[in-house]
């Protein structure tokens, strides 16, 4: 069954105000051991000025999802094989590579997890920042490019920007590097910014600072942010809405408070329950039995069923449809209506 974008209400769809609308996106990897369905029918949407968190563990396909949105999936092994990615109404999957290059970095941009890898160690920061600026506007003079670089750094609150431009990546801390990467991504004030685990490699005290920075950029420019993470703390701090990803598909979507207060999918519940809490003294953590399925060899029915304590026969046989709990809250689970977990 091909779910259409269920959470986008009729009215919203008609008004067309979502800045990013993804419908049934599929990205597969072809290896000699079979086809890996990294992203297997993902639908989501994003409004300007809001932050959508995508939470999942390793093997869920979330990083491939991020790469698919900007069409940077590793070739030739992987291929986007279906779906639609509408950015401001334009289908990114229908563009030629040349057209996509114009869009990438300008209208939709991305921050990767490890700032070590995003910055080239042999070039100065200024050099790389100017390159990011000049790639979309060839007519800038050196002076203009320099000005833009300085103001980009100022917008991410980097102190002494002129000096920083002369530094090399190894002279800077992780947090500083991530800011600069952020500045490069925001240089053209894109409509959508995708951040793939931007805080994972940063220190605890820097993480919150960085998320605040993203929020600040969002308030000033109205950019829509897709924040990919495995950490519910990041979700709680920075997101407006959340989508939970498991084995290549979205299993639940809801506004952030709802995800924490009233999760409707057993996987979401299990994830939330397995976190050690700062303020509790539980003696045992609840963990999830088993392992995620191999994306090369997926079961027929619900992909979480083998590990789910609420699974019934139907769960193993048929993949559940995405059901709406309320406006904006959807979950793909046969049992979400009865909610057998409610009385625990």
């Amino acid at each position: 069954m091909t779910p259409t974008n269920p959470s986008l209400s009729q009215a919203d769809r008609q008004s067309g105000s979502a800045v990013l609308e993804v419908t049934d996106l599929k990205t597969y990897l072809f290896t000699r051991w079979g086809t890996t369905k990294a992203v297997d029918g993902v639908s989501l949407y994003l409004y300007p000025g809001e932050t959508l968190g995508i939470v999942g563990e390793s093997g869920s396909g979330k990083s491939m999802l991020a790469l698919s949105l900007v069409r940077l999936t590793p070739e030739p092994a992987s291929r986007i094989v279906g779906g639609q990615v509408l950015l401001g109404g334009r289908d990114l999957l229908a563009l030629s590579e040349k057209q996509m290059r114009d869009v990438r970095g300008k209208e939709i941009s991305m921050i990767l997890q490890d700032p070590q890898q995003s910055l080239n160690p042999v070039f100065s920061v200024g050099n790389q920042l100017r390159e990011a600026i000049e790639v979309h506007d060839q007519n800038l003079t050196d002076e203009q490019a320099h000005e833009r670089a300085v103001s980009a750094l100022t917008s991410v609150h980097v102190p002494a920007p002129e000096e920083r431009l002369r530094n090399f990546p190894h002279q800077l801390s992780g947090g500083m590097k991530q800011r600069i990467v952020g500045a490069m991504a925001m240089a053209y004030q894109p409509q959508v910014l995708i951040a793939d685990e931007p805080t994972t490699a940063l220190d605890v005290t820097i993480q919150a600072q960085y998320l605040r920075l993203l929020k600040d950029l969002q308030t000033r420019t109205g950019v829509g942010i897709i924040l990919i993470t495995h950490d519910f703390g990041v979700i709680a701090e920075a997101c407006d809405r959340v989508a939970v990803m498991y084995a290549g598909r979205i299993v639940e979507q809801a506004p952030v408070a709802e995800i924490f207060d009233n999760p409707q999918h057993p996987y979401t519940r299990a994830l939330l329950e397995s976190r050690p809490k700062l303020d509790s003294t539980a003696t045992r953590l609840r963990s999830i039995a088993g392992q995620p399925p191999s994306l090369t060899d997926l079961p027929e029915g619900c992909r979480f069923a083998p590990r789910c304590e609420y699974a019934i026969d139907r769960c193993q046989r048929e993949y559940p449809p995405t059901l709406s709990m309320s406006d904006q809250h959807t979950a793909a689970c046969w049992r979400s209506e009865e909610a057998p977990w409610a009385n625990r």
Binding site: R32, W33, G34, P76, R79, V81, L93, Q291, S294
Partner: protein, 312 residues
């Protein structure tokens, strides 16, 4: 890897996917040739087997003529398919009446044995020094690195000529000369890899476990360095064969009348225009074998590496 009742990890299974199912793909489709480049290079392997290995092993059994002494009345007979040729001497004879094909088969034995021995010596000496230098650092590293730099900049040909002028050419001499230059390549590579393996957490754990240095080198460092070592060795076989051929060509290698391919090419030098087959066939053999070894070595490198980076 055999498939057992293992936990669901990354056991390879299934057959390779066909491309046609996904018609609506946009962009390039280089998937086809990447698949081809990962295919086992059967042609190269075949060539190596047929031109180098089998003749070397079976020389005594499959040849009829004497490789060292010829029949003078049968000098410079062209290959069988040409005018004046005959199938007694399928590839013709040289100016001493010796059968080219027989000499090439024995020549394969020489090439194989010289290269195997040289690489064995070079690999053992080079790897040991590389391991010690990379793992212990300090003065050991300084000395070994200096040695590596020095030996890599030696002019082999000049050196060979000088030594041969002094003590005369022989098997042992040429093996020694080539080994002396080869060991440094091994040492450099192994040293570099050892440096990075030394910093890994599994070496740290072995130290925490209390393992002595020799055990760490033998069980933790060497096996992880072995991959690239094998690839390097494979690629260097071609280099050694070329070097032996070149040295033999100028008279500083295998002594005559032994039929090293290089010697054979040199022998035919004067008659290149009239009796082309004397130089051509051994030259062709050198070219084919070295090319095949290079292709095989490349494939080996690609084939061995990605498996290591597989994540559970």
């Amino acid at each position: 890897m055999s498939v057992r009742n293992a936990p669901r990890g990354t056991e390879p299974r299934g057959t390779p996917t066909k491309l046609d199912e996904f018609g609506q793909i946009k962009g390039r489709s280089p998937w086809r040739w990447s698949r081809r480049s990962n295919r086992t290079p059967w042609v190269s392997i075949l060539i190596i087997a047929v031109v180098l290995v089998l003749p070397a092993l079976l020389a005594d059994v499959i040849t009829v003529h004497d490789p060292l002494r010829g029949v003078l009345s049968d000098r410079l007979i062209p290959p069988a398919w040409e005018d004046g040729g005959s199938w007694t001497y399928p590839l013709g004879t040289d100016k001493q009446g010796r059968d080219i094909l027989t000499r090439m088969i024995y020549g394969a034995r020489i090439s194989l044995s010289v290269s195997t021995l040289t690489i064995l010596i070079g690999a053992v000496v080079g790897s040991t020094l590389g391991l010690l230098a990379g793992y212990f650092g300090g003065w050991i590293d300084r000395i070994v690195s200096w040695l590596i730099d020095t030996f890599l900049s030696l002019p082999n040909v000049l050196l060979a000529l000088v030594i041969v002028a002094a003590i005369g050419p022989s098997f042992v001499t040429i093996i020694a000369i080539i080994a002396v230059t080869i060991w440094a390549s091994f040492a450099r590579q192994v040293r570099g890899e050892t440096l990075s393996v030394r910093e890994t957490e599994y070496v740290a754990r072995a130290r925490v476990a209390g393992a002595p240095s020799w055990r760490i080198l033998a069980r933790h460092v060497l096996p992880n360095v072995a991959n690239t070592l094998i690839v390097l060795a494979t690629l260097l076989v071609g280099v050694v064969i070329l070097e032996e051929s070149s040295l033999s060509f100028i008279g500083a290698g295998i002594p005559r009348p032994n039929p090293s391919w290089g010697v054979m090419v040199a022998d035919g030098r004067d008659q290149i225009l009239t009796a082309w087959w004397v130089s051509f066939f051994p030259g062709l053999a050198i070219f084919l074998v070295v090319l095949s070894l290079n292709l095989f070595g490349d494939w080996l490198r690609d084939h061995l590496d990605p498996k290591m980076k597989q994540r559970g």
